[in-house]
Amino acid sequence: MIISICVGSSCHLKGARRVVEQLQPLIAQTDANIELGGCFCLNNCTEGVCVKLDGELFSLQPEDVQQFFETEILRRLSPT
């Protein structure tokens, strides 16, 4: 699984650093092979922090990270 977080100016101001710092320990808890990286503008600057998860675009607020992790990342890791 590949997760890219935009580190451009606009997303930075909306809290990209806090998203990265919250996701890191959450991902470390799982044993899954998840690649967390940065990227530049994903052309979706008007919303929250841009996050790309396996090609799919999301717009996050730093407060939503836990929920995003549970609903999107964990859901994809455990196909039922």
Partner: protein, 391 residues
Amino acid sequence: MISLCTDVGHLSLNKQGEKICGDHIEVVGQGESATTVVLADGLGSGVKAGILSTLTSKILSTLLANDMTIEDCVRTIASTLPVCKVRGFAYSTFTILRISEDLQAEIIQYDNPQVILLRDGKNHDYPTQSEKIDGKIIYKSRISLREDDTFVLMSDGAIHAGIGSALNFGWQREDIIHFLETVYNREFTAKTLSTMLVNECSTLYGGAPGDDTSICTVKIRRRQPLNLMIGPPANPVDVEKMMSLFFSKQGRHIVCGGTTSSLAAEHLGKPLDVSLPLYVDPEIPPTARLEGVDLVTEGVLTITRVLEYAKNYLTDNDSYTDWSYKKDGASLIARMLFEEATDINFFVGRAINPAHQNPNLPIGFSIKMHLIEELSDCLRTMGKRIKVSYF
């Protein structure tokens, strides 16, 4: 032929309780190969000393830069300086360093501590001849210069540092030489070396200088070009033109801005590697790597910080302790712009990023344009040759 130029950086401490420095440093032709520097120390301290030293250094540097002889200059000074009411005479010491196009240095010294010359980081004694002009003993020297030769000019506040408190007899010229030889690093700019020496004097004075203390360093260095690109062009048709021009330039290359670096990566046909973003400084977005580019950073926020550092560099230079070693984008750019480069080409794209035109975000278009203008002005004051091209 190696193209050499001068790098001049100075800093003064005011005598405790004085708002105005009694020393004055005047530089003509900073950053060029022909440069004249005058350091003058006025009689007494405060406003009176400030006027004497400012007049002395202004008159001397202007006359010398226009090729007047030293004899005429000294006579002009003696007959024009206002006479001190208390002491009954006009007086300001001075040190003149004149460097010609063909890299010959002429030093003329009157009553200031003798100029220190560091060659390859070691003290280099140079011959001096004395001459009496208008009853004043003036010391003259001529030296052929080499790359990295570093002159340190100072007012007597430097050698008096610590008298009676930290040291019995103050800090002698030999001690200063020893200090300079110890801290010397080829990478240091003139301003950095001046700052280090002034800080050491301030420490010896216990933070309360007993006299105005000024240091002016003049370093002979090689010209070094650097190119910085920020922002995509206003018209997308010009992307290729902007990229080819930028990458055809000699010297180091810095690319600022997310979209701009993506375009650069496309032009070079190399991947843009942001990998796991490393937040060295929470306020500065992480840097990225791109083969063929020396440094890739975010745009406006990073440059805003660089501008803060540039303004500080021109005054107290106390944020040197931040940018001189940190690894965030702004510090890296600061080191490359302030320390390494002498000739800087800015490639500024005028595309408007609609997402940034939000009144709540401090990164709008006019802010970006203004940043580059201000930064160019600061760099010019540092003595660098600046060219800005807009696309």
